[in-house]
Amino acid sequence: MMIFDVAIIGAGPAGMQAACDLRRRDLSVVVLDEQPAPGGQIWRGVERNCQPGSHLAQGLGAEYRQGADVARSFRASGADYRPLSRVWQIEESSKEAMAQGWQVFVTRESQAEVIEARRILLANGAQERPVPFPGWTRPGVLTVGAAQILLKSGGLLPEGPVWICGAGPLPLLYAHQLRKLGGQIAGFLDTAPRDTLRRGLPHLNGALRDWKSLAKGLGWQAGMRLSGLRRETGVTQLRAEGGDRLERIRWQTPEGEKSATAGVLLIHEGLVPSVHPTLSLQCEHAWSDAQQSLRPVLDPWGETTRSGLFVAGDAAGIDGAKAALAKGALAAIGIARSLGVLSDARARHARVAGDRALSKARAARPLLDSLYPAPEGKIGDDTIVCRCEELTAGQIRAAARRGAADPDRVKAETRAGMGPCQGRQCGYTIARLIAEAHDMPRADVGFHNIRPPLKPVTLGELASLGKTKA
């Protein structure tokens, strides 16, 4: 069986950049991604959507169109790219014959397979931060990211006017894209705290290094104002009401309670790194107060606390696509160094430019983090927290108070986080409720143990491992 030098999980900006750079050093590279085509989140569907005659390319914007060039270089790089490939487990090889190596379990078209590689690069990106509120599980409520995925992968616009509620660059971008493509927006409920100036000012100077991004963001906001769109600021205590479907939304502003009829509500409260793979591999993680999320602890080369396992892109901390490209390039240097094809001295030289690009790409991040903090409002006892097991905040609080401040204990006691989502939807909320019950810093609570698989796999697929299809 072929042993690759490097297996990359994720063909977004970080994974594609790393693949191109590693191929330039003649290393054998396999790239696994569950999407049908390269691009990752930002550039999902970029090859198809940028074909001549596609109306989407214009509406999705210039930054989106740039992805086509990166995808083209990636296709030409000679990396063994495997789309529609879901990675559901990563293990360190037990075989002694391999000095150091990894096994990646992946399913493609119902056939499971183990891919072996000497190094792993996780370029698996981010996920939207789940924020429970009354009614968030009601049909008609979805995330901005999910709506944007429909837009990029099939050109689908939501039916009827939508309400957008949340904070961060993504809702602004999506609102902008939607308007350009002829979608209807009923209103924009901004949940960012109103004291923008006080929060943002200390970070403004640094952020000016990335004035292009700032100008872009200001442009989206100005566009929204000019369009006469209804906009509410200082929004808290959102509720999605109705029966089987969303009918009405209700919210609070400093001026009082308001409500409106609603058919579709799109929510978004920022991104968090997708840390399930590194958590399940028991890498060390650190808590970021600014981003209210965990991230794997990395050395300057992008290597985790488990040697041979690297992380790049938003999976290493939310910094956006430009930074993801830079992190991909740096991880490629780190991996080449660790495989011995690049001396330490050359590697240090090679990374100077990458470091500079990364620091520039990150310049506006402290400003963004301060403008769009994770929501801190109290979660009502009746609000569902764990969707898989249908557990409320009240039930989790009660369990949290009954014993030690340990997410695994609360999980064992309540089953919260044991369902198909493995805590992707509830893990942070549960940890927050535990911290609250024990009056301790969120950073000290940790996260529950992650049990495989990382992605859904059927028993039939599991059984097909190692057997080639008839």
Partner: protein, 375 residues
Amino acid sequence: MRAGTDLIVIGGGLHGLSAALQSARRGLRVVLLEGAFTGRHASGATAAGVRSLNRAVEELPLSLEAQAQWEDMIALVGDDCGFHAGGQVQVAMDTEAEARIKARIARLEAAGMRHEQWIGPDRLTELVPVMQPGALGAAYVARDGSADPHRTIRAFRAACLDAGVEILENHPVTWLARDGSLWTVVAGGTTHVAPTVVNAAGAWGRQIAKLAGDPLDVGIKNSMMIVTERCEPCLGPVISAQNRKLSFKQTADGTFLIGGGVQGRLRPGGGSASVDFGALSGAMSTTLALFPWVADLRLVRAWAGMEAATADLLPVIGPSHRAPGLIHVFGFSGHGFQLVPSVGRVIADLAETGRTRTELSAFDPGRLATNRKAA
């Protein structure tokens, strides 16, 4: 330092909890020291099969006692622990398996034990209509079944607290020594003194034994489990197969639990176990041969649980020979869940009076004693 403690139990798995509970009920003042939280290891990872079927004869007296206790768990802990007597079935997939099962049932009957019975293919199909036809028959125990492990842990823990057991979680025992007639046990920065100590530390039982000056030759097992997405209820009994690694059952909430002793790996450092999907994949063939329709079900979680295992696969139950006042209760080798109520009774006997009516010679720690220097 706490004075006045009669018994220190090390380990808050089900065996530690059961021993603590039944000792406290007899008036002993009990402190239970748990390194993580109650049920963190084997007792929380278990398939929770309540099975007398295919037990080693040495374990049967305890197992049959436990069977009756499971039927009346409310009397012991105030909750039924989710026990459901759906039966246990051990399928014979070939003539050799059939011969083995029949020989076992004959041996049991000769010894006066009639809990297992042989059922033919027709009765088997009646009992398990969702199984592929073709099996030659099966051993069957109608009174067996399974329970809800987390509910069982919660119930034993609550009953312990009610009975006055002091439970200290996040208190790993790091040192213990005997001075005169008293043991001193250090755990998580606290010190405890008592005449009697119970070693119920599961996979770490051998470490405690060694610390106490009674090194025992006991290994580790890392059995794996799979749980699927939920389905309509369709399977009553727990299914195993003679000579194959299979344990298959549907839980009360509709998920299927698949295990059967396929082994995972010990993580570096030995503190926990991880799943070996290659091994799990190989073991899927028996499940799929009997239940081909599970191929389309989604695997929701897989895990491995650590437990001490002895060479003869019998537990270590009884007083230490070299460390007076220390009682071992660990090494259940992958099938200790069912025995929790009866073994707790035995440990309470020993803690209270130093004696028990139950024959323990097959479980004697002495059979596993290793040389102190070599250990």
